[in-house]
Amino acid sequence: MKLWKSWVIARKDFATFRTKRYVIYSLVVTPLLISIGLPSLIWLGIGSAPIPPSQLPAIISGLNDVFNAFSFLFVLIAGILPISIGTYSIVGEKLEKTLEPLLATPTTDGEILLGKVIAAFLPSVIATYAGAVIFMVLMDAVTSTKLGYVYFPNWTVAVILLITVPLISILSTEFNVIISARVSDVRAAQQFGALIVLPLVAIYIATETAFVSLTPANLLIISAIIVVIDALLFSLSRATFRREEILTKWR
């Protein structure tokens, strides 16, 4: 497999997506809502009113859990953002009739699929990181004077952003590329593709109900599991990519 060919396909997709407004909106709006909305909520809750010194330790302890849960929302975002690009990747090429000439080039299924994964993964992760940076800066601005220290960055968010987020993004991307190669309609692809969010929401609920504690160690364990799923999904995507079926049976 020649990685540069995947990069060529990914670069073409980047150029194509730049012209599609709904992709730009989906990449910008969700991270921005979270990164501005959550600090605004905290500011409304604690930023505007003085806190009695006696209540401060309890509030700080509660905020730790809330902040970790907020941080984990970026894992959810990393799972959601690739849906629009990933689901469009193969079915979009088919609908625009560009798949046949692409398949006629000397590129392998693996190179095409990896290119599609890169094309959905990179913008999603970059948008997630941008949202996370804005989130952390605003949260620190809102809370540092009350807490007496700067909460972000910390080890938990570092593991989330540097390890869990990219892995979840790859997982979501691969899942959606597989869906895109199996259905013949963009809407159906998006509906099936959105199923990827369910396990992530389950993990989020588990953290909120203290069933799973978001410590760096637990996050590393979750990430290790995701690495295995990522590898399995890529193998599955290659095994289930049926170029003949896509060319002859999709209408």
Binding site: K5, V8, E96, P101, A104, P106, E244
Partner: protein, 292 residues
């Protein structure tokens, strides 16, 4: 079965036309030869490479160019960007891509609009661009699937002239078409497909195959003396439009001088003499209908 009992050979530098009704298997054949779909049985080769052999598939794709029945261009990208993208997987250098894009776009009158998004192009411009895309890696073998379909006559002519240019460059061209006139003008040989190969040959051979060769003689007047002279030569004839004799011949180059001599000797006044044969359209319709 989309295609069966298909045996044919296309030689290097030849333009082979593939005619057939919708659903005859023309596109399926091209897709099989371009290694896009696999054959269920049989053998096929492109040069030294075997179709159906996974190791050869990438090599075959490198040496062929394909213009599919749907142009399939990235509508939001510019013409130049489309071509540049397609040149890369073939491992063309940047200089090669630049040179070929400029050469072909100038040749087809698209150089000035190279920076425009393809979605702003007319159908004919897109078709030209799709042909250039197939040439970006300078393939010696081209598969063209209905390259002039749905184009206005002017664009059809431009595309046809361009294909003729490619023919002069000694490229091997496999042309799927519904356009019988186009096939007759461009192709060295033609195959008529209707899931099976119904007929194959040069356009002339196919046209002769329907009714044999005929010589049409237009006279001032067809008299009994003239028809008697033709009968004495042992030739069959029919009188058409009152003053034309359509005579069955097997070797007109040899037989026509004798026929002319006999008619003149019988007092016939010859105005014109032409070779008459069935049109490719007549041959095509007969063969396809017979098959159905």
């Amino acid at each position: 079965m989309a295609v069966e009992d298909l045996t044919l050979r296309v030689d290097e530098g030849e333009v082979f036309g593939f005619l057939g009704p919708n659903g005859a298997g023309k596109t399926t054949t091209v897709r099989m030869l371009a290694c896009l779909i696999s054959k269920t049985s049989g053998e096929a080769r492109i040069g030294e490479y075997e179709i159906g052999n996974d190791a050869d598939a990438q090599k075959i794709r490198k040496i062929i160019g394909l213009v599919p029945d749907n142009v399939g261009l990235y509508e939001d990208l510019s013409a130049y960007r489309n071509l540049d993208f397609y040149g890369r997987p073939y491992e063309c250098t940047e200089a090669q891509r630049e040179e070929r894009i400029e050469h072909f776009l100038k040749m087809l009158g698209l150089w000035e609009v190279r920076g425009r998004a393809v979605r702003t192009f007319s159908k004919g411009m897109k078709q030209k661009l799709a042909i250039v895309r197939a040439l970006i890696h300078d393939p010696q073998i081209l598969f063209l699937d209905e390259p002039t379909a749905n184009l206005d006559p002017e664009f059809q002519k431009t595309v046809r002239d361009f294909i003729l240019e490619l023919k002069h460059e000694k490229r091997t061209i496999f042309l799927n078409t519904h356009n019988l006139d186009e096939a007759q003008r461009i192709c060295d040989r033609i195959g008529i497909l209707n899931t099976k190969l119904v007929a194959e040959g040069t356009p002339e051979q196919l046209m002769e195959s329907l009714e044999g060769r005929k010589t049409e003689v237009q006279l001032q007047q067809v008299t009994p003396a003239v028809t008697g002279a033709v009968e004495r030569l042992g030739l069959r004839y029919v009188v058409s439009s009152g003053n034309r004799l359509v005579i069955d011949v097997s070797d007109p180059e040899k037989e026509n001088p004798g026929i002319m001599e006999a008619i003149v000797a019988a007092g016939g006044l010859i105005q014109f003499i032409t070779e008459k044969h069935a049109t490719l359209e007549e041959v095509y319709l007969k063969l396809v209908r017979d098959e159905q």
